[in-house]
Symmetry: D2
Subunit: 260 residues, 4 copies
């Protein structure tokens, strides 16, 4: 039985090849994660186990896709930055996005018990993902800055909110009323004067989000007894740094240099 | 710290809204599943546990997306058919495809041990997905026929191949040589004359693939002792039928009738 | 000198192939035509010479593109309906739209003096065009109805407006104030009671716009002296009819029948 | 009569907004121009009147679209380069391309008799146009180089071909056979040794095509008798230069500087 009679239906498939020569960012977002985190008793304002699980899933994506030069994540989102000339899946948008979202979600379930050994997963999460192109280095940096500012805004709010609830005796409604419409300065001041918390002393992983990059690292190995050699290998590193200002990019010139 | 300075980067996001008024099919395919099934010792030519796991993941997708009127799967692929006027995620292609692929993959891992209780999952699988539009009922039917013919061709080949290997004493290379370029009739004949297998007697689930539809089913319930009532509820049904010919569509008029 | 070094730039061209199996409508709109018609002293509310010129340009487009089954125009716009399975330029949107817009505009200038023999063209007009897909017959009909209702609304307004100005002694501002926000009934009534104009008696070409279709017409030809034969030939016909209601489609079944 | 019932058909219009931050090139090509030029007795290999008409149409396009920083044309094609951040028509591809193609074609007819005063236009030409994005300056330069190399290859071939026909006594078939598959050196040599033509001495307008740019030019004006003032005004300049090598870009830094 030949299949040719029906194969014309392939002509209805459309081409979604992405423009070459642009930074290709795939941003992944958890679906209904505030409910998911509640249903699984995540610590508030931030659950370090959840962050580490997200980072581990992102690393799995980076292992699969060699063209990713940097990933940045916070909360329930992760952005994967592919090199400008990445030819991954011939730059077909849906193929790239769906493979990443499914791989990430599958790892999230697969690695769950490593990070939440005492918490049964009640149902699996899902993630959407979208591809966006950025034609120039400075626009890519602005994209990443946008996400890191978002991390800052959310984390400062959540820190103030949950501190009011956990330590200030507020109901969630009261905390929400107290904070809505306030500026960063107000929240910083509130944390400091009422709870003696200096926001900038909180762990960078909360305030800055997670930056994953590939790095060549040197190891000293004892090849044979008493013989030590330096070995260079490429590995993944998680950084919790400010990527908005220039120093980060000066320290890691290979990122915009496209792995040069 | 306002985020407005960087928010212009949103302008680089593109609109991938799908044309209204067309059947919207999302076809999902396993990535490197021949390796995955080998690494997890799937039965050959078909592993019923694997089929049931795939079907269960598809049902989870259908529970999440009420607009899916039919799903059809075989091997490592599944097609989800959304009603012509489905407004799911405003018909944004990447959002639909990535949510489905991630939900499916997450369920694949989540439900693994229910179907493979004795087999450790060595690594999680991934799936790609693509959206395709079909403007008319007959073209949608041709699409589904295309996939079912594909199921038939693959299953007949695999049945013949693995029968030659398991029972005919062939090496995989020899089996492959024996079959390459042969027509269906030849393989049917080979199975029958050499191994006394009537291909058409094999389980329909292998030969036809799995069709998932929502059905209103009637149940008889004993409401109070001795009092029986008929209750109608909507549930999922898996069918292993020929969907190429007309009878299937005559038996299930509500599918093309868009859930009417 | 080989050109291969630079040819990679072709990879930046994107594919804009339109979905098969859908009615393909190209709608063309004059750019700044109220100014153009003023600069060329068009009669108000409608200039029949302008309509005939537009229709003639549309016919030229239909001669070039055999796949167009119907065109509909009024004011400075024209819609060209291609058969569902038209393969024109492999259904590449920009190629189709730009060829039509340029051919139409070039004919507008080329045929100008045939319709405006006494009016010098001061500058050439331009037109934009866009391709839209309609997956089903009823939606295509709704599209055309949408345009014809638009024709009606505009023409009734313009008729009332210019009658107030030309015969009612109003300034344009006064006429505009008189009409803004009024319903059709009001304008009909105004025309009838104050100016004794029965709107429905105005020429259909003004009220209904122009529908161009291909028709097989019979001609009686005198082949040799005294010998008359019937000859069937395909020609273009302009109709000024209501295409919203069913009779039009019953009278011209070949249109939705895709030239069958 | 309200139009709302049908207005839903607008939802079938798709968004074709082009990515911001990229050079936007619209390339226009004459349809069947070898026939058009033959039907209108263009001089061979190149008709200077035709070139000047094309250039004049391109200038009209540039007057209409202030965001065009450079145009390049030869033969029956023209490329319009919009500034990276041009917001013309909100960067909607079809709107931009169709307006340009129609304006160009309309001017071609409108200005015809200025350049071909003795030649009746038998029918109007048409042009297609496509939008292509180039994310970086060097890729834009490669695009323009690609077109200028194409100009060179075609012009050298046509010069050799028509010299063989006009002065070498060849039939077109013979000339074609003589040249097919030969390299540039061969054609240069043939022109020189057999016809004493040094190809590089031919007018640059033939060999290099036409580059249109906006330039601020200084004029000396006699404001009142005996009082001369320098006046700076922006005007269009046609250049016939090599734009492949660096000097052109060094001489015109404002082009890639986006009109800075």
């Amino acid at each position: 039985m030949a299949n040719s009679r029906y194969e014309y239906v392939r002509k209805f498939e459309s081409d979604d090849t992405l423009l070459p020569g642009c930074w290709l960012v795939v941003r992944l977002d958890g679906k209904a994660f505030s409910k998911f985190s509640q249903d699984h008793a995540f610590s508030k304002p931030v659950d370090l186990r959840g962050i580490n699980l997200m980072n581990s899933c992102a690393e799995a994506v980076m292992r699969e896709f060699g063209d990713i030069v940097l990933s940045y994540g916070h909360s329930d989102e992760f952005s994967f930055v592919f090199a400008k000339d990445a030819q991954v899946f011939k730059r077909r948008a849906q193929k790239i996005c769906t493979t990443i979202s499914s791989l990430f979600a599958a790892h999230y379930v697969f690695q769950w018990y490593k990070y939440f050994p005492d918490m049964e997963m009640r149902y699996p999460p899902s993630f959407d993902a979208r591809a966006v192109l950025y034609p120039a280095d400075n626009i890519l940096r602005d994209y990443l800055s946008w996400r890191q500012v978002d991390c800052h805004i959310n984390n400062l709010y959540n820190t103030a909110f949950w501190t009011l609830v956990h330590r200030g005796g507020c109901t969630p409604d009261e905390a929400s009323k107290e904070l809505d419409g306030t500026l960063s300065d107000y929240k910083n001041e509130l944390l400091f004067t009422r709870f003696n918390i200096n926001y900038n002393d909180l762990p960078a992983v909360f305030r800055k989000g997670s930056i994953l990059v590939k790095k060549v690292v040197e190891e000293t190995i004892e090849r044979t007894p008493g013989v030590f050699v330096q070995k260079r290998k490429r590995g993944f590193v998680v950084l919790y740094e400010d990527l908005i200002r220039d120093p980060f990019w000066a320290d890691h010139p290979e990122i915009l240099g496209e792995l040069a």
